[in-house]
Symmetry: C2
Amino acid sequence: MTDTAVNARQQQKERTRSALLAAALELSQEQGFAQTSLRQVAKRAGVVPAAFYRHFESMDELGLALVERCFTTLRVMIRDAQRDPQVFDHIIDASAEILVAAVKANKADFAFVARERVGGSEAVRAAIRHELDLFATELSMVLVRLPNIDKWSPEDVLMVARLFVRNMVAGAEEVVEMPEGRPDLEVRIVEGARRQMRLIVLGFKDWRS
Amino acid sequence: MTDTAVNARQQQKERTRSALLAAALELSQEQGFAQTSLRQVAKRAGVVPAAFYRHFESMDELGLALVERCFTTLRVMIRDAQRDPQVFDHIIDASAEILVAAVKANKADFAFVARERVGGSEAVRAAIRHELDLFATELSMVLVRLPNIDKWSPEDVLMVARLFVRNMVAGAEEVVEMPEGRPDLEVRIVEGARRQMRLIVLGFKDWRS
DNA sequence: CGATTGAGTGAACACATGTTCACCAAAGAA
DNA sequence: TTCTTTGGTGAACATGTGTTCACTCAATCG
C-alpha cells in the first residue's frame, strides 16, 4: 500500500486529532489556552477524556502542535505575499494592510500566538519565541535588499527586523482584541500601523553605526 | 481619633491584605495570574481560604487591585526620572537604561503587567490596556516639547507615543524573560532597545503629514 | 477465514478548586 | 464592665480536574 493510502484507520485517527486541535484552538480563543482543560477539549471534540491520550501525551504537547500549525499557516501566507512583485515594491505601505487581512483571516491562530507568546506555559512560550526569532531572521534577509539598508551591518539589519516583527505582533494583538463589527476601528489600526512603519523607515537613510 | 489612628484592627487587616497581594504577585511570577487559585494565594499568605473573602470578592478583584498598585509604583518611578533635568536632556539615550533599571528593580510588578496585559482575564486585561493608554497620553505631552515634534499634529504625536510605549512594553517583556545572572544578555537588550529608539527618533525631522 | 491491533469507551480514583456556614476570640464602643 | 463588631477559623459541599484501567469492536493483517 502507498503511504497516502485510503487507510480508513489512519484517516479516522487524523480526523479526531484535528478535531482535538480545533477544539483547543476554539477554547483558547474563548478563555485562553492555559485555562483550557484536557476534559473540555475532549468534550468539544466529541470524544471521551481518555481518548485524548491516544493523540497527545499532555496538554503541553497539544499546545506545541498548535504553535507549529499556526506558524506554518503564517509562513505560507507571508511567502505568497512576498511573491507578488507589486507588493514587494511598496512593501511598507502594503505590509500594514497585509497584516490586518492576514490576522482577520486567521484570527484564531493569531490570537493563540499573541496570547500564549507571553501568558502560556514555559514550553509553549519558548516555542513561540523561537518561531518569532526565525521570522525576524527571515525578514532581515528581505530587508537587506532595500535601498539604504544594503550597506548596514548584519546586526543592525537584524535589529530593525526585530523592530518590525515586534510591531507586527503588537498590531496583530490590536486586531485580535478588536471588537466584532467595528470597521472604523480597523481602518484606524491600519492607518496607525502604516504611519509607525513609515516613521521607522524614514530613519533608514540617516542611520549610522 | 484621627483617621490614621494606630487602630490595631485596621492595621492588622491592612497587613493581611498586603500579604494576600504579595502572595498573588509571587505566584503570578511563578505560574501566571490566571493559573493562580484563591486557595494558593490564601495558603501562601498564611490564612485560611475563607478569610480571602474578607478582603476581596473574587480573584478578579484582587487582580484589579494588583494592576492599580503596579501602575502607581511605575508612575512614581517615571515621574522621578522626568524630574532629573540631565535625564530629560538626553531622554532617548537614557530611556533605555532607565527602563531596564526600573524593570529589574520591580521585576514582579512588570512581569505581572506584561503577562496579564494579554493573557489574563477580560477585566484585568481591560484595566491594563486603559493604564497603558493613559501612559501614552502622558508621554505625548512630554514628547510635544521635543524639537521637530512641536509642530506635529496631535494625532501624530500620540501615534509616536504609542510606538514608544509599545516598544517599552516589549523591552520590559525581554528583561522579564531574561534568565537570572546573565549580565551579558542585559547589555544586549539595553543596546538593542537604545538603537531602536534612536532609529525611530531619526525619522522625526523628516516626518510630514 | 480467524487472529491481532488499536482508537475510542465508561467507570473509577485521588485530588484541587470556589463557596457556604456556624463559630470563635479579640478589639472597639457603650 | 458588658455588648457589639469583625477578621480569621475549620469543616463541609458540590464540582472539575488529570490519569488509570479493563473493556469493546471494527479495521487491518496473515
